[in-house]
Amino acid sequence: MELLMVGSIVLCALVGTLVGLKLLMLATRSHKFPELAIGVTLVSYAALSQPAVLAQQALGEEASLGLRFGLFVLGILSLYVSLVALSLFTWQVFGAESRWRQALVAGVAVTALICTGLFIRATWLRLTANAPMPLYGQLGMTPHYVLTFGWMSVESLRYYARMRRRQALGLADPVVANRFLVWGAGEGVATLVVLVLLVVTVAQGQMLVDDPFVSGCVTLAGLVNALVWWLTFTPPAAYLRWVQGSAAQGATDG
């Protein structure tokens, strides 16, 4: 099970890094904010945070305190950057002028920063003074991830419903419509997985890293993330043909 979990994290890190770099390259050409935000989201999560988690696990207790803590801080700060960049992406794409979306992004950024600081402090005390990790330390930014993934999912699926109506009038590209579905559904699965982890952590009073159920959730999240990023941002030609063919078939049947 552990091997499967590590495999899914490695796959997620590889796909996320490649797709994220492609989006950042697009941002350098287009000078547009959405590709910059989502590129930063993927690169900071997949190329920094996930490798830091893997390195921590691989080094174990034998590594020096400084190295372990340094990797932890790198991982958690990368997660924070990823979270805020994803919130900014959602805000800019689905309603840049909307006041409530602006407030939501600001709220996520500020409260997640506070949680990150508390998490880093609690971890330092655990490593240096063997202090017990409080529940807020166990949770870290998990509630923020539930909120951000859930928000992104609802916005994407709502937009997909509108795209379906446009498609019926020939006013929408089925490939782009499908992109909203894949992205929204993927974020929906991620929301559920993180929510389950949050509930388990609160119920148990601690994050059970070695629990098979928790490992299964992490594995599932990694695999879903990799698939969603691939199909949304670098879809293979065969997949695009399948989507177009399905839409054409649906139009004929309808």
Partner: protein, 101 residues
């Protein structure tokens, strides 16, 4: 006049072409756009023209407007003369670009 959106100009035309009040014309147009999955703030003239051809006639007929099809054809003629003003970027445009479409 130059600052009016495509939606607002279409509503004014609909008001002129029918006996509908300003409020009724705007409401009917909003319902037709919602039915088509479009947003009044970002709809383009070409998209509104399709809505006027395929969705609006039924909405007008449902409100007792006589000769709805002919009115919609005249509305489409007016829409063809409208130049789209450069609006903000839509989610559709962003996702099209991000996936390389």
């Amino acid at each position: 006049m130059a600052d009016l959106t495509v939606f607002e100009r279409a509503c004014e035309s609909l008001e002129e072409l029918t006996q509908l009040s300003r409020l009724e014309a705007r409401g009917t147009m909003r319902i037709a756009l919602k039915e088509a999955g479009l947003d009044p703030a970002s709809v383009r003239a070409a998209e509104l023209s399709v809505v006027a051809g395929r969705v609006l006639p039924d909405e007008l007929a449902a409100r007792g407007v006589a000769d709805a099809v002919s009115i919609c054809e005249r509305l489409r003629g007016r829409l063809s003369e409208i130049q789209d003003s450069a609006g903000g970027e839509t989610p559709e445009a962003v996702f099209a670009r991000l996936g390389g479409a």
